[in-house]
Symmetry: C2
Subunit: 237 residues, 2 copies
């Protein structure tokens, strides 16, 4: 077997797949920004666009999965190269999930547009989503540049997202206790907050895959956990 | 290349991996039952056990992933066999996620044990979880027997889970509007209901992988969707 030839053919195939991943990442970033903008402005038209565009992201995920399977089948990569492809498949799946959460934010926007508005919360949710989009941007840069340090930094930043979620959860409870008319809209806003926090978790696992690609081992979960009475709400899921 | 020899070696390796998957599936079924039982009885000790056992499930997922990667690297399976391994890896990931949701149910049990009890809801959640566990049992049987019909049946049954979730969501809203002391516990119970509905979605994607393994193509999503005003809550995520 001509290792050299197989290696170079593998590399050029992988290069093409990474280009697809970056394209997909760009679409997912756009989905996060547009979804949170549509929520902030209760813009049902923009929300509709986000939901339509998610089909493109889903299709891209299938293409990348197919390409990865074809790459493995055709090039029979070595154990090391195989791990790279499997990591790329995981990143691919993370991106698709983040896109789904953005789509769900857009779906709930259409529901919230017909309910009692909850002042302030939508702006806070938009800031939280913006933060997640910036983390994703850096995670994708870390992926392309194989930059473990930048990826490690994202693991830290995900804690801020968790803090934002915890603060919002308490804010929603206060709203609901103040006035029962806030209960239903706050249930939806709470889901959006939780899903945005989950987007952050998926960005984090993209970053973890990058660290794995560069260092060969997954980072230890060194995040301090409270006991099950003092545990922060963001740790419950 | 001796196709015959490679095929048989591949088959026996795959056989071993499937045994691991079934072992994992059994642990996940147990986790669902124990978590919902601990919730029903607010049994913090049992909840603690569920959370401890989730580490075993997570470890098994890693082992299966490693074994699948090794199988691909050593046997260079044909495109068809490769798809089987990739499907098994997807099922593996679905099982791990379901285990996570059971763990989360157990975590919230520990929180709910210190709050105003919400009558009836915990029993309904246990019935819903029991239904999901039975679906998972059948999905795993369908996987082992490569039974596409049984798998298709699971896709139908997931609609019942969605209905149970929608009913519970409305019940929680009623509780919260009745008495503000119910708001915080109901927020947690609602998450448990949503996560149980998501368990059903993951069981469904296990069933879809089985259909893919048998028929070579994924089932179309024929589930009727409402427009974005009438859409059921279970379709919002």
């Amino acid at each position: 077997m001509n290792e050299r030839h197989i290696a170079s053919a593998f590399d050029s195939d992988l290069e093409q797949i990474q280009t697809q991943i970056m394209k997909m990442g760009g679409l997912v970033e756009e989905a996060i920004l547009d979804a949170s903008k549509s929520l902030k402005n209760l813009d049902e038209e923009l929300a509709e666009q986000v939901r339509a565009k998610d089909k493109v992201i889903d299709r891209l995920e299938e293409v990348v999965n197919e390409d990865c399977a074809r790459l493995i089948a055709l090039r029979s990569p070595t154990a090391g190269d195989l791990r790279i492809v499997l990591s790329v498949m995981k990143i691919n799946s993370n991106l698709e999930r983040i896109g789904d959460y953005a789509k769900n934010m857009a779906k709930r926007t259409s529901v919230l547009a017909h309910m009692t508005p909850v002042d302030g919360a939508r702006g806070a949710l938009r800031r939280m989503a913006r933060e997640v989009q910036l983390m994703l941007k850096d995670a994708l840069d870390a992926f392309v540049q194989r930059d473990a340090e930048l990826a490690q930094d994202i693991l830290e930043r995900d804690r801020d997202i968790d803090q934002m979620y915890n603060a919002l959860f308490r804010e929603f409870l206060t709203f609901m206790m103040e006035d029962p008319r806030y209960i239903t809209p706050c249930m939806h806003l709470h889901f959006i907050a939780k899903n945005t926090e989950r987007m952050g978790d998926h960005v984090t696992s993209v970053a973890e895959q990058v660290i794995y690609l560069v260092t060969g081992s997954m980072p230890d979960d060194s995040r301090p956990k409270g006991d099950h009475y003092t545990r922060e709400l963001s740790e419950l899921d």
